[in-house]
Amino acid sequence: MRPTVSIRCRLFARYAEIAGREVVTVELPEGATVRDALARVRESVRNGNLLPERPLAAVNHTHVLPDHVLADGDELALLPPLAGG
């Protein structure tokens, strides 16, 4: 069996409203990127197709690009357009 990584994905603000939940855990093949995780999340949650394909994302509290490779246990956050200030 190929090794996998378990990624805890958090949804915030409007994304949490769309999906009706704030957390979803996905299992992905080792070497999976943020892009891969996003595709899986869009398949897994309610109204997932309404989530953008390339939203702003962070891993373990740091902004990342879609090519970022995930490690087992990472926390991936999908961030709607920011509105601080």
């Binding site: 958090r10 915030f12 603000a13 409007r14 953008p52 394909e53 390339r54 939203p55 702003l56 962070a58 509290h61 740091t62 902004h63 879609p66 956050a77 961030l79 709607p80 357009p81 920011l82 509105a83 601080g84 200030g85």
Partner: protein, 128 residues
């Protein structure tokens, strides 16, 4: 302001951003702020540290409120002190702009009739 001032820092700048009810904003009565708090805290710290690196001997503090904030009330305050006024202004402006661009905070406008609407600093959503 005491948190950033000092005998060698002669200029201090404060920015206070409030929930506004401008001519085009309609009857907004409040804004509901939420955050990814575990990430917002280190991001604030990184921004403040960057300001001290870019403008030597500058010191900055930032405070952001969360939850429901009524029109006219303050949502964010940034304080910067530096030896020279130009640096105090620049560092303060930098912190405000970076907070808006990088810190995971979201706001939902609450209208008089109860309608709510998410509002962003930048309209771009999908980075594809």
């Amino acid at each position: 302001m005491n948190g950033v001032s000092g005998p060698g820092r002669g200029g201090a700048t404060v920015f206070v951003g409030s929930v506004r009810r401008g001519p085009d904003d309609g009857p907004v009565v409040a804004i509901q702020y939420s955050a990814y708090e575990e990430m917002a805290e280190p991001e604030f710290a990184r921004i403040v540290a960057e300001a001290s690196e870019k403008w030597p001997d500058a010191r900055a503090l930032v405070q952001h409120r969360l939850g429901r904030i009524a029109t006219g009330e303050a949502s964010i305050a940034v304080v910067c002190a530096a030896p020279h006024r130009a640096d105090a202004f620049a560092a303060c402006r930098y912190v405000v702009e970076q907070v808006k661009e990088r810190v995971p905070i979201w706001k939902k406008e609450v209208f008089e009739d109860g309608v709510e609407r998410w509002r962003a600093n930048s309209p771009v959503e999908d980075r594809g």
